[in-house]
């Protein structure tokens, strides 16, 4: 199978995490031929792809062109990481693009054609959306193996809390009153931040369906957290998605 990895505007983590598979990367190469992966290779072949992985947000015209190319040339498109699926941190900066440019660069001119950062899923149809800032590297490994073998991949649909229970971590929300977003965040990271005795900051994006952000908001407000503080915390990784 032919694979391409395309990086839009981001921290590089979601592409880098693929290289962090180390020896397992060589296992993937039994099934895949890498046709494009600019962080790792100077080899590039503009060809039809079986699978295109796209990381990052669309933050300028160039990103949009790369994304359209990836979509048009591939059978399966994977939006990989919270930037691509929900907008992540750069998507959380509110305001109009020219106002932001003025504040940071001191000019309203937009010569580089910056766009208001949005996730990949807002521009094109994607076949798989795998969130995480970054995702757990075994998740992309498993997804690529499933695709190569024609197995239907399993989607995670439980909150981080479940993984705390499985690891027998003490609940930092109940026991320490920390503003932990675990109850409303999609699991899959093995509750790694709670292992550090800290509250989940929601980097895997909101859990769809059963999650109850309004309830969590209420609980934290009753613990004495400021509303504006909570509002910004809730929206850090998922551009305005958690409404209550």
């Amino acid at each position: 199978m032919k694979l391409g990895v395309f990086e839009l505007t981001d921290c590089g983590g979601c592409a880098l995490n693929i290289l962090f598979l180390y020896e397992k990367l060589f296992d993937l190469l039994e099934f895949y031929e890498i046709k494009e992966f600019h962080m790792a290779s100077s080899f590039k072949e503009h060809d039809h792809l079986d699978v295109a992985i796209v990381t990052g947000t669309v933050s300028c015209q160039r990103d949009l062109e790369v994304l359209r190319h990836a979509r048009n040339y591939s059978n399966y498109l994977i939006a990989l990481g919270t930037c691509a699926t929900h907008g992540s941190v750069q998507g959380a900066v509110e305001g109009k693009i020219r106002d932001k440019l003025e504040k940071v660069y001191g000019t309203r001119a937009n010569t580089m054609k910056a766009l208001d950062p949005k996730p990949v899923v807002e521009y094109v149809a994607v076949d798989f959306a795998l969130p995480g800032c970054p995702y757990d590297k075994m998740e992309i490994y498993q997804l690529l193996i499933d695709l190569a073998k024609g197995v239907e991949p399993i989607k995670k649909d439980y909150p981080v809390c479940i993984e705390c229970k499985l690891n027998e971590y003490e609940c930092v929300l109940v026991k320490k009153g920390l503003p932990c977003l675990g109850p409303i965040t999609v699991g899959g990271c093995n509750a790694i931040c709670v292992k550090s005795k800290l509250g989940c900051i929601g980097c895997r994006g909101p859990l769809p369906k059963e999650a109850n952000p309004a309830g969590e908001f209420e609980i934290l407000r009753n613990l004495g957290y400021d509303e504006e503080y909570l509002r910004r915390k809730f929206k850090t990784f998922a551009r305005g998605e958690l409404r209550w």
């Binding site: 890498i34 504040k103 940071v104 931040c193």
Partner: protein
């Protein structure tokens, strides 16, 4: 005529270059960062200090710990907080892990393919599998340290103002100790490999680094100056790039592994020091390509220094006590050596602990002017003498020697 260098490959992030040629002569070279802006300064504005290091980490995955540490140091300095030796040592250990992870990524996966004539390390592995695997082992070890200290390989949130969420266990420290010995042989071999690389790229007028080996209170320069960044570093925006350009006392300077060796060689560990002396003459020529050799020497330094630190921690036992913090109004700067050089986080915080001002300056932005100068000089040297593809390849190699991190450089600056 404009000679376009398409998007750089085997570098972090999205960048391009163009060389402007008039009447058959190279007039100018420009490095263009085409990655979109990310507005981190706006992201942290108004936010509570405790949450800020976790956000800043997301500036860059290759050096996320350098960002969270610089952020933590800036915040602690604003509050006038001092941490005990144990926490200082653990922080240094985390930064060493990052140097190992980042340098081995750069040297083995990004640069080595140029030396051996392959488009990437995966294809290079077919003939030189051993070298690639040695690089992966060093990288995995660096990442292990990042996981232990930082909480995760990428974007862990364990690094906090006043200390850590969780402290390493004795087992984890012992594991680090053992690996240091085992990997030293690979690192020494890296020095031999990169010592053979040909020398190219411009020579900076000054080198800039932090006053401690991996972090510090002030910056130091090769002319002996000890200073705060705003005293002597001047930044300007460019119309053709999302990054800014900096000068030191109006001259082109460098920051990074080569700069650290040039201004701080007195702090090197024994074997690293010996290797430095052995290659001193070559390194002193100062061309940017020598940054690769300097990084290889730093792999050796990192393993030796990690062992020293872990030894101390195991001797004394890790107490694991954080320094309590009372938010108050203040201003502070954090200076850290990211793998690619000096990284600066500067904050003002109000009495409630919320950020009111933030300025971040990254090594790639600091090196931007030197990168353009190097491209210009290389282009002048080769233009007309070699065919265009070869020229482009040479220029790309030059950019790669800086180990540029484009995600880092795209976001700026004074509000």
């Amino acid at each position: 005529m404009i000679l376009e260098l398409g998007e750089f490959t085997r570098v972090e992030g999205n960048g391009k270059a163009e060389v402007i040629i008039e009447n058959g002569e190279v007039k100018e070279a420009r490095v263009k960062i085409v990655e979109g802006p990310r507005f981190f300064e706006l992201l942290t504005l108004g936010r509570y200090y405790w949450d800020v290091p976790d956000l800043e980490a997301r500036i860059c995955a290759i050096c996320y710990l350098a960002h969270s540490f610089a952020s933590v140091l800036g915040i602690e300095n604003a509050f006038g907080v001092k941490v005990p030796e144990e926490i200082q040592l653990l922080r240094e250990l985390g930064l060493i892990g990052e140097i190992l992870e980042s340098h081995s990524l750069h040297l083995y996966l990004l640069v080595a393919p140029d030396l051996f004539g392959y488009p990437d390390a995966i294809r290079m592995a077919s003939k030189h599998g051993e070298i690639v695997r040695e690089g992966l082992a060093l990288k995995a070890f660096g990442n292990y340290i990042r996981e232990v200290i930082g909480g995760r390989e990428i974007h862990g949130i364990n690094v906090k103002p006043g200390g850590f969420g969780r402290y390493p266990t004795e087992d984890e420290l012992e594991k680090i100790d053992k690996s240091c010995d085992a990997l030293l042989r690979f690192a020494k071999r890296a020095v031999n490999i990169f010592a053979t690389q040909e020398v190219f790229g411009a020579v900076p007028e000054y080198h800039i680094a932090t006053d401690g080996y991996l972090y510090g209170e002030k910056l130091i320069a090769s002319d002996g100056e000890r200073f705060d960044y705003f005293e002597h570093i001047e930044e300007k925006s460019l119309p053709y790039s999302f990054a800014k350009q900096s000068h030191y006392k109006e001259s082109v300077f460098m920051t990074g592994a080569l700069s650290r060796l040039m201004v701080k060689s007195d702090r090197l560990t024994p074997i690293a020091k010996e290797l430095f002396e052995q290659h001193r003459e070559k390194l002193s020529r100062g061309n940017v390509s020598l940054n690769n050799l300097a990084q290889a020497i730093e792999l050796v330094y990192s393993l030796e220094r990690a062992k020293e630190i872990v030894g101390k921690l195991l001797d004394h036992g890790v107490k694991g006590e954080n320094v309590p913090i009372e938010p108050k109004e203040g201003e502070g700067i954090g200076y850290v050596e990211a793998p690619r050089g000096v990284l600066i986080h500067h904050y003002r915080i109000d009495e409630n602990g919320n950020i009111t001002y933030s300025n971040i300056i990254t090594p790639t932005a600091l090196n931007h002017a030197l990168m353009e100068l190097s491209l210009y000089e290389e282009a002048r040297k080769h233009y007309g003498a070699v065919d265009e593809n070869f020229l482009k390849h040479k220029l790309e190699e030059t950019v790669r020697a800086f180990d540029p991190c484009i995600s880092c450089s795209v976001h700026l600056v004074r509000l």
